[in-house]
Symmetry: C2
Subunit: 352 residues, 2 copies
């Protein structure tokens, strides 16, 4: 199986299904683990990194979900392919920029194992909709299966030992990518997300730490990894996310009640530009798709599924465009191809 | 014949035909005349205004082109109808805001006589494309026919006497409405129009003196009325306009050569918004139509005629919308109706 294979597939974690999927695009849980008897990956020699990878890959062979998984050594692939895997959220920027990284990608792209990132192993589970508990269950099961064959760094007092102390304990980071266009429109979003911050959660843009919130998309994740069980952390995160969802639903309801026309205007203008532009930057596209997604979820637009919007969102990213073109493209060439692909994908729609 | 009749007609002066009509929308000549033995209209009593109007209307009966003309007394019509006539460029703002004004509108809306404006009589001829000489010929012939029955204020030394000294002499103002999107895009327009100003011509927005230039539309007119013949004034104006046209053609050519995609992007985005928006202000509409007009003239868009763009331009004006609705509309109601009408008129187009 090669990376090209992924291009023809839809990422299952963005298929637009699952609980609350009108607001929550996807849920993600990742567990950080380290192997006993090895230096932490950051201080590792190439030799020991290879050895750690070999041990983890051997252990993974026994996991049913990872049968026929795609194994990619970062050093073997081009910068473009690395970017491609980042855009599909299958690897982190850290793994992609390192030398010793290996990633193991499950068939549905729902599960990936990152090896020799900051920690020796990061188990990632991604699912569509608000599905944090289910992500945790799957990650936990894979973790247990791997632990049968791997000796993790673990101490009864502190839990799993990690390269960075912010991951100590459960080693778990759980997050949801949520779409809050109505709260952005009515200006409430900063207030609500500030409150979320005070509750010990982190709010980020869609490409992780330090990135801006394009397209009214936000990632909410736990900060605390120590002193609580995974179930408690996820329960708390889910409770707060459901509160945010309710705020967004209320804001959407009020928009429909009080500003339906303004909303429709925004949604249809976005559709008009997406279907007609000859040059589209990534940032503009993601912002227009945000309006379109809201229109689909509020039934302002018919004939378009949430999954189709997500597919355009994924395929219009820079590395995806270049993989489709089969070669590297300049920024301008990408804007041209992006506009063409978006037009093609939306051409079947009735505009009225 | 009632004002409503005009609503169903296309203004012949905006049908998109005539010389250089890819750049020159319309040409206009108006002659200012005053009747001997009357005070100038501005100082006139209602009684003498009525008398002046009666004399002019009687004289107009003998003009073939004005058979079956629509005669409208400004005092008899609503503010909305006055605005409607301004939007069709059949009356000036001055006439519409006065008490004693009468307008006589020829069947094709190409000829109108404004009575009791600043001067007793203003003969206006409007035609599509660059057609100043032809406008002048028609105005001159009507003027001569009217003069057979009217005694004009005229002195051999100064020519026709007018209420405002800036009209003295020929009493003629000739103008062309020109569309300069490429010169606006490439930033040359200010320099060129400043040069035009130094040549003794006036540059204005589309609604006359003191108005802004919306939609990349400019009115160029003579300032001088004294000391030259009408033919000389028009010849000079036409020569300069042809130079501007050549600049615009060159700029369009360079856009097509160097920035075809940027141009197409602009044109198709305009089409996308016009075909999809649910709220459209007058100003945005005129600006988007400007891009669309350029696209039609450069064959970037097919299936749409210049005349059709002009028709949308006329019908999307505030008073036109209200006449179509049959009642007064708030600004918001107009924006809704404007968007609907624009959508309807463009719905047949293939967007690809």
């Amino acid at each position: 199986m090669k990376i090209e294979y992924l291009l023809k597939k839809k990422s299952s974690w963005l298929n637009g299904s699952g609980p609350e999927s009108d607001i929550v695009l996807s849920s993600r849980v990742r567990l950080a683990r380290n192997l006993k008897g090895f230096n932490f990956a950051v201080r590792s020699t190439p030799e020991t990194s290879r050895k750690a990878a070999a041990e983890i890959l051997a252990a993974a062979e026994k996991v049913e979900e990872l049968k026929d998984a795609l194994v990619v050594e970062i050093n073997d692939i081009s910068p473009l392919d690395r970017q491609f895997l980042i855009e599909r959220r299958l690897v982190s920027r850290e793994l992609a920029s390192g030398d010793a990284g290996v990633v193991l990608i499950g068939k549905k792209e729902s599960i990936s194992l990152m090896i020799n990132e900051e920690d020796h192993l990061r188990i990632q589970v991604l699912r569509s909709g608000l599905s944090l508990s289910r992500c945790w269950e799957i990650a936990d099961r894979i973790d247990s299966l791997l632990e049968q064959r791997l000796d993790y760094e673990y101490c009864p007092e502190h839990g799993y030992l990690t390269a960075c102390p912010t991951n100590l304990g459960t080693g778990m980071r759980a997050s949801a990518m949520i779409h809050l266009p109505a709260l952005v429109m009515d200006g409430q979003v900063s207030r609500i997300l500030q409150a979320v911050g005070k509750l010990g959660l982190a709010v980020r843009g869609i490409y992780g730490e330090g990135t801006r919130a394009f397209g009214n998309l936000f990632q909410i994740s736990n900060q605390q990894t120590l002193g609580k069980t995974e179930e408690e952390i996820i329960g708390n995160l889910e409770r707060i996310i459901i509160k945010i969802i309710n705020h967004e639903r209320q804001a959407r309801h009020e928009l429909l009640e009080n500003s339906r026309l303004k909303l429709e205007d925004r949604v249809y203008r976005a559709l008009g530009v997406l279907r007609n532009a000859r040059l589209l930057t990534a940032e503009e596209t993601i912002n227009l798709l945000s309006a379109l997604r809201m229109g689909v979820n509020l039934n302002t637009i018919s004939g378009l599924s949430p999954g189709a919007v997500n597919e355009i969102f994924i395929h219009s990213q820079p590395a995806h465009l270049q993989k489709m073109a089969g070669n590297e493209l300049s920024s301008r060439e990408r804007d041209i191809l992006r506009a063409r692909i978006v037009r093609d994908k939306l051409s079947g729609l009735d505009s009225a």
